[in-house]
Amino acid sequence: MTDLAADPVSQAPVDEADLPPLVAPSSRTGLKAVVQRRYLLKLLVRREISARYQGSVLGLMWSYINPLSQFCIYFFVMGVIFNLHKSIPNFAIHIFSAIVIVHFFTETMGAGTRSIVRNRQIVQKMAMPREMFPVATMLTSLYHVGPQLVILVVACGLSGWVPDAYGMASLVVGIAIIMLLGTGFALLLSAANVFFRDVGSAVNIFMNLIRFGVPMIYSYEMVQTRFGSFAQYYLYNPIADAVLLFQRAFWVGTVDPSNPQQPVMPEHLLGWGVSMVGVSIVVLGIGQVIFSRLEGKIPERL
């Protein structure tokens, strides 16, 4: 037991100060470490993008078929059957700008929730900031927003869109809200999903609710007429704000000023948006704290 003297391999004196310090091997985690290892992050995102639809005939097209099919359902059911496209000008663009945001959020949250369990092979074997996986899912979903934006811009262009600076600022703020908020939820839920696989199923129900909490199939004007001054509470939902910001960026500019039905937007929308960026940062912070708490036990519970 105490036969300790092993043959020293090298006799050269080593100066301890020249060497890296003794540290806990599991110490480098957190979102900051993710940013430090952005080369790996880039490769993980690329893998997810190229692997997601490999082997399917339509490939990347599926990323658009899903939102487009939702678009058709909502457009025909709500617009044509319930006649909403008469009361909301350019109803199609109103819906589609909302779908882009909602889809970005639900994709981030849905795939993000499963991200750690799906990468269990890596998580169980390599020490790395595990925040990497939820963040990579968010970036993958963001990548898919790109072509949807192109569709949106083309559709807007065809409807006589006049872009403006306030609208472009709204666009940026809207995306920022979903990026931060989506990552926050993805962090929290991906860790929770390791301990209770039920989380994944519960998330699906929650995501169905989201579609009705944002002005997609109804307009903000309807919220205001129905709830009056209580309508501002509606704006405490950051996803609703992100949707409104997106509609401010695209839909509002497509309605002809001579149209008797003018789009109604909340007052100080950009101000609301910026505050919601703040709220989303707080959510992200909470997500990170909870993630760090749970993280230590993740590899053994996978």
């Binding site: 092993a6 890296p20 806990a24 091997p25 599991s26 080369y39 490769l43 890596i122 074997k125 590899p299």
Partner: protein, 259 residues
């Protein structure tokens, strides 16, 4: 000499869960059965390893070797006690982790290298050497899903063994690949040992341990029961009879012992 790995009073407790769903747990509780059970996979283990030592970690299946390695690697954290390491860590632990069957060998190589901590430059520099070591030049653009299990293991090994680090960990590794490939790996491990890096090697093969290691640690049910010279350690385990003449040219029995 300077410390490379310092393990102090480390304990790791695992929970065995017998039931998972609410229904099963309720049924078990009403019958007065146990629903979970805690045990120490690593129990109050302490040792210090100096830079450049090569350690053979031995012990029966389930004695906690992999768990200890995972804690040194930083994948798991000790429940009590502390583990400190100096410098970067790599090894034959996560070989092939994150391989995507639908992506090409080339893409998987680059990604796996990044997972193991290689930078973009380092990967570019070592790319040819890795492909050469794996011996998969002609299949590099094919899907990894179509590789044989030996081929994908070889790719994983080749990447892992090319990562620069101060500490090199290897967990029961030489069980995969064909004979020439195993010999190549063995040679490479000896190179790593002789380059002054710290080597931490889990094996059941007395011959390889004798050849590779300057010191042996033996775990038994999570406790460190031996720490000393390889020859004594092997005697302690009663593995003397498995000796082979030339450890580089491992014979089949010896490989079996490494699984």
């Amino acid at each position: 000499m300077v410390d490379s790995i310092r393990v102090e009073n480390v304990t790791k407790t695992f929970t065995r869960r017998y039931q998972r769903t609410l229904k099963q747990i309720t049924v078990a509780k009403t019958r007065g059965q146990k629903t979970l059970d805690e045990f120490n996979a690593i129990d109050d283990v302490s040792f210090t390893i100096e830079q450049g030592e090569s350690i053979g970690l031995m012990g029966l299946n389930g004695s906690g070797k992999s768990t200890l390695l995972k804690m040194i690697n930083g994948v798991m954290r000790p429940d009590t006690g502390s583990i400190l390491t100096r410098g970067t860590i790599s090894g034959l632990i996560a070989t092939g982790a994150g391989f995507h069957p639908q992506l090409s060998g080339r893409d998987n190589l680059v990604l796996n290298a990044a997972i193991l901590g290689m930078s973009e430059k380092e990967t570019k520099r070592k790319f040819d050497a890795i492909v050469d070591f794996a011996g998969l030049e002609d299949k590099l653009d094919g899907q990894v899903g179509h590789y044989s299990s030996g081929e994908s293991a070889r790719l994983g090994f080749a990447i892992a063994i090319h990562v620069d680090s101060d500490i090199f960990l290897a967990d029961e590794v030489l069980a995969v690949g064909d004979k020439p490939f195993r010999a190549k790996c063995m040679e490479r491990m000896l190179e790593i040992r002789d380059s002054g890096r710290t080597l931490f090697y889990v094996s059941h093969s007395a011959a390889t341990v004798r050849r590779m290691c300057t010191r042996v640690l033996i775990l038994d049910k999570g406790r460190l029961v031996f720490d000393g010279k390889p020859a004594k350690g092997i005697t302690y385990l009663g593995y003397d009879e498995d000796e082979t003449e030339n450890p580089i040219d491992l014979d089949e029995n010896d490989i079996g012992a490494d699984i």
